[in-house]
Symmetry: C2
């Protein structure tokens, strides 16, 4: 997902192009890690001081709804990152030291359905945590 594609998605869905949204999207386009609302506020403190947390949370939720951002819960915080470009469902390794993301071409769900006859599967979460090679010193 690029900044331009995100802007296009905004327009296609009738959302206005505002300076706040541009700043937030540019930030996520330049940082592949998962960011919390407070991270966004801090990162934009110079470029856009005083951006309301309401504005940040509202836009993060909107962007996640449009699948511009992906969302997860880490350490009791909602975190967001730019949605992956490549198609095909997959999952992520997350470095707990530097936040680096490594895509995992693997999803266990294909084998799960047959283990749960009669169940309705609506969602799943699979994440691997640890240290990337650079942080494994």
């Amino acid at each position: 997902m690029t900044f331009e594609k995100a802007i296009r998605l905004l327009r296609e869905n009738g959302l206005k192009r505002t300076p706040s949204r541009e700043s937030i999207l540019r930030l996520f386009a330049s940082d592949g890690r998962y960011l919390a609302a407070s991270d966004v506020r801090d990162a934009l403190a110079f470029e856009h001081p005083g951006m309301s947390l309401d504005t940040i949370y509202r836009n993060l939720s909107s962007f996640a709804g449009l699948e511009i951002l992906e969302e997860t819960e880490l350490g009791g915080e909602r975190k967001f990152r730019m949605h992956c470009d490549r198609d095909g469902h997959h999952h992520h390794f997350i470095c707990m030291e530097c936040g680096r993301i490594q895509e995992l071409d693997l999803c266990p769900m294909d084998r799960v359905a047959e283990l749960l006859p009669g169940f309705t599967i609506e969602d799943h979460k699979f994440e691997v945590y640890g240290r990337c090679p650079d942080c494994s010193s």
Copy 2:
């Protein structure tokens, strides 16, 4: 994990046997679902009115540390349930309607290590969400 085994683990680790802890452990022994701190307070409102939330949170954390309880994060809340008895690492299906848990004899981690050479894997999370047969009407 049974109530008796949990009490034994408390003693073996130098933790006192108190009425609060007994009430909390008995609750988890009788309810296989994931419960939040507020659920514990409500469930024990009659048997133990006025139990401090500090007491509940502190004990839930202690029990999780002793692996008496397992912990997860659902809907922005820390939730706990009695640790599974059966040995062998596994994961869970969680019914979003009634909270029923179904064990999944499946873990994707065996195939993950080879996809992440040089990475240090420290933890992972795999959960499946949906509706159990009774709630799939």
